[in-house]
């Protein structure tokens, strides 16, 4: 079920390069096409983080405007705009959570998404439909605690210390779960990403 957004959003990934060129020419219709391609998945991602439809829509708008304003730094010849757009979407959502919760923002992540060139070397088909099945399989291989720390980190932007507090577990235990979870994902997904 959760594979559908990926399938829909990245079906046209190969056309991203042309779309990026048009965005850089400031063609408003290109923004419409970008939204049609990635709007739903960006919305689903942000909604998963903030869990409020109105706020999610505001943050999706903010995400697309940010991409519109910073797309000049994107190298259209190198890859897909999707991973960068979704990174921006996630960071906008987590930034909102942190602001609402009185937590500090993670400056490293924000600095990175402000530099789309860091994402341009990703493969255009990184999130293609065949990858979606692998993602599901990889997540199913995680233990309950491993899956929990990945979700807390990715969808709530918690640091390991914050996760330890939230879960009531020693920091060392949480770090172990995190490292183990990321190793599973690296082994299961990393090879897929590289071979894409």
């Amino acid at each position: 079920m959760f594979l559908l957004p990926i399938l829909l959003a990245f079906r046209g990934a190969e056309a991203d390069a042309a779309l990026i060129v048009r965005l850089q020419r400031r063609e408003p219709q290109a923004l419409a096409e970008l939204y049609d391609r990635y709007g739903r998945i960006a919305y689903a991602l942000i909604l998963r983080v903030v869990r409020d439809t109105g706020i999610a829509e505001d943050l999706v708008q903010e995400t697309f405007l940010r991409v519109w304003n910073r797309v000049q730094a994107f190298d259209a010849q190198k890859g897909a705009v999707g991973p960068w757009l979704l990174a921006v979407a996630r960071n906008r959502a987590i930034d909102y959570l942190r602001s609402a919760g009185g937590r500090e923002r993670n400056n490293v992540e924000f600095e990175e998404t402000d530099h789309p060139s860091l994402y341009t070397d990703m493969e255009p088909g990184i999130l293609a439909s065949d990858k979606a099945r692998v993602v599901k399989a990889a997540i199913e291989k995680l233990s309950t605690h491993q899956r929990q720390v990945i979700e807390l980190a990715y969808f709530e932007g918690l640091s390991q210390t914050e996760m330890a507090e939230r879960m009531g577990q020693p920091l060392g235990t949480v770090k172990t779960w995190v490292r183990a979870a990321l190793k599973v994902l690296r082994d299961e997904l990393g090879a897929q990403a590289v071979s894409a």
């Binding site: 959760f2 957004p5 419409a32 919305y43 999706v60 991973p83 990703m122 990184i126 999130l127 690296r186």
Partner: protein
């Protein structure tokens, strides 16, 4: 730290979980374009990016697309203001037709009420005149037709104001016919003088006012015959009413 020591930290860095000193080390490696760390970082970012597709599907409202495009100055075609404007135009036309028809109805109603009001004013004036004559100091009253079944009534006479004929049991004049009132002179051999034309009400009654002074010394009575609507110079029909003038007592 060397690159192999950083290997377990690329995903943590990509996810925002890396802590110092590993975080600073990775940044330093990336800043100098480390040939080992750059592709590893690319792989780590791709791994993390794959997680973005895992939330349950959700669909934003259709308005969001319009909001985003409007924020960069794009006006939506099709479902923009056009349906609203079209709807407004249709409503305006319907309103114009409706209120145009209502205005026509109102105009007709105003004309009807004006005519009704005018008729009522005329009738009121006539009644005022009749009452004034009936209450006049010099007014005398004579009855007529008391011994006959039809018609009968009273004649109020005032030398300066005129006369008021009130009668009942007058048969309805057929089409093209009307009642004609005559002044019957006292002088022998003199012809009746045309006075006025009138119609009776549907119930056979009439209240007819003859305005202006009538010389009682020269007029013996008032008479009524039925004639053609346009009137005749000399009576042709039989006398239906004959009411003598009763001069005021000096």
């Amino acid at each position: 730290m060397n690159c192999s020591e950083l290997r377990d930290h690329y995903e943590m860095y990509a996810m925002g979980l890396a802590e110092d000193p590993e975080r600073d080390e990775i940044r330093a490696h990336l800043d100098r374009g480390c040939e080992v760390c750059m592709p590893e970082m690319k792989r780590a970012r791709e791994t993390v990016a794959l997680l973005s597709g895992t939330p349950a599907p959700a669909t934003p409202s259709p308005k969001l697309r319009r909001r985003i495009l409007a924020s960069v100055g794009v006006e939506q075609r099709g479902f923009g203001w056009a349906p609203f404007l079209a709807g407004s135009t249709v409503m305006c036309l319907a309103a114009a037709i409706y209120f145009g028809g209502r205005e026509w109805d109102f105009s007709r109603e105003v004309v009807r009420l004006t005519q009704q009001s005018r008729a009522q004013i005329m009738e009121l004036t006539r009644l005022n005149e009749a009452f004034a004559l009936m209450n006049g100091a010099d007014t005398t009253v004579t009855s007529f037709g008391e011994k006959k079944p039809v018609p009968k009534g009273k004649l109020f006479y005032n030398p300066s104001m005129g006369a008021l004929l009130i009668a009942s049991n007058l048969p309805q004049a057929p089409a093209g016919k009307a009642y004609e009132l005559w002044l019957i002179p006292k002088a022998k051999g003199a012809s009746p003088v045309r006075s006025d034309m009138f119609q009776s009400e549907s119930d056979g009654t009439v209240m007819h006012l003859i305005r202006g002074p009538i010389d009682a010394n020269a007029t013996a009575a008032l008479a009524v015959t039925m004639e053609v609507e346009s009137g005749v110079d000399a009576p042709t029909g039989s006398i239906l009413i004959a009411a003598p003038l009763a001069p005021a007592i000096q």
